[in-house]
Symmetry: C2
Subunit: 356 residues, 2 copies
Amino acid sequence: MENTYCVIMAGGIGSRFWPESRADRPKQFLDILGTGKSLIRHTFERFRPMFRDEQFRVVTQRRYQQLVLDHLPELKAEQVLCEPIGRNTAPCIAYAAYALCKENPEARMVITPSDHLVLQEEALRAVIAECIDFTHEREALMTVGIRPTRAETGYGYIQISDDERISKVKSFTEKPNLELAQTFIQCGEFFWNSGIFVWKARDIITALERHQPEIASLFHTIGHLIGTPDEAAALERVYSECRGISIDYAVMEKADNAYVRCGDFGWSDIGTWGSLYQQARKDRYANAKPQEGCYTYDTRSCIISLPKGKVAVIDGLKEYIVVDTEDVLMICPRSSEQHLRKYIDEVKYNTGDKHI
Amino acid sequence: MENTYCVIMAGGIGSRFWPESRADRPKQFLDILGTGKSLIRHTFERFRPMFRDEQFRVVTQRRYQQLVLDHLPELKAEQVLCEPIGRNTAPCIAYAAYALCKENPEARMVITPSDHLVLQEEALRAVIAECIDFTHEREALMTVGIRPTRAETGYGYIQISDDERISKVKSFTEKPNLELAQTFIQCGEFFWNSGIFVWKARDIITALERHQPEIASLFHTIGHLIGTPDEAAALERVYSECRGISIDYAVMEKADNAYVRCGDFGWSDIGTWGSLYQQARKDRYANAKPQEGCYTYDTRSCIISLPKGKVAVIDGLKEYIVVDTEDVLMICPRSSEQHLRKYIDEVKYNTGDKHI
């Protein structure tokens, strides 16, 4: 693993888990599965068998720097790259690539979201190791695909072009509608986009220069300031000018050297209460609820989250989400989860940012 | 109003409003209607136009003495009669009667629960004044009846024997079943039992001696200790021997000098979440909910109670009770309110008294 770095992207604010996640404690810092560890901690430990502590980098928003260090005390402050604001994954990855390339021109990056679930970590590591090997020999932009188990409309899809273990990417499709998702599943050529990438830092920089010359030029201009006391001010300028765009849209869809290694390792992006429900341990009435203090009657297929030590008595709910926090209570049907944005907007409009 | 005392009974623990009411903050000390004042404070102010502050007495459990004084700072500590434990209304009233009779042999008592709602207070006071007048001339045990507006099965009923403004009581019936309650309403002779009584202290003592000689004898034995430093210890003995029984069962049903003055003054015992719902101000979707911070969607005919400052988003509930407190959340259909005792028992069994 010489010259290889594990880059954890931890800048998201995760409003889809409101009111559990908040602007000041996003999802990656929560123990949303009730395992005793936050999602970012799980992510770190998942890759630790492959990397030494000093090979990790975390990219996050500056306001979460201390939270990252609290959750990953093994890291030094300089291993946490701080964006002034979130601008989606393309600027995040560009920043990490320029920073690592400056530090080590041979740097190779394994990039992972900080807030996903992987049940078979050993299998994931084997896939990652293969991806790293593959990028040794060629200028490949590797992504990891997941064999789909349902016609999920909340994920991006990657189409493969052949049946090799590592295939050239034929196309990317963001969140299809249900009909299209069903076609994808039947067709067999489509895999979920895990958001995990492997490549050499200089190769993604080359791709950015080709497909996103504005972003590349912004970071190129401040390259000499990275790692100096002027870095933060320089990043302020770059991020104020840089548009927010995902690496998939910005580079992967356009690149002719995108490859995908498809795997099967019990993955979920746990992007919504619904997907958390899929993964959670349930009682015999299919309720995902705290093991203690939650008394349910005539209640089925609910997902219930309570603050530590709180008691709840819930009677007569079917397929609801009940999330209680210190200052916000939310009760809604599981089928109304897409209204979450509307709830948040109304609360924000009426009571300001305090509860957001 | 010379020689007349207003006795407020405030010893109940009100478990029917759990989790809002708790053993250490019963219903009478809560602002359960959201008016800005507790129910006991409303009760006090309701009778204040008729009585000077020194004419009030409150009977409560010793552990609530300070709470009473906090809510009614106009009273002196010696105006709060402290029972060691709750034993229903007969011992409570006996204690007050013996204490007042010792202080003033001519004492007349207006006895009222501390946790009921009266909307037309002026009308109530007129009724009370009439009752007081009535007891001047005779040894009458007066009770106040309420013209029923529905076949309520949670109340006691009083049957009148004639159409006079003040009628002799023909019978008392505790909580009838629905069929019987409907018959009562149609018949026109039955009124709700408000739990408000008016009589001379020595007359209720005479009635206790006749119908409850054990209770009378217990209090008679310690009569000389009331108002002395030995009163508390004496009461401990009396209450440990005395059985819990209501004044209706103990005396009123048996007495041949029970009279009732029926009135109509916007009364409710707000004994349950359901009866609170009846009285509460509702939004245009018939939800009784806090005016601020409670955002409802596709939600109708619910009663929602939140801690101060808490935000709630509630979607898709019809006819539910949602009560959130600092340490307990309860969600149940309004039709399941009778299960409250079961909820409380289960929480108590599993987590002890902490949340009760």
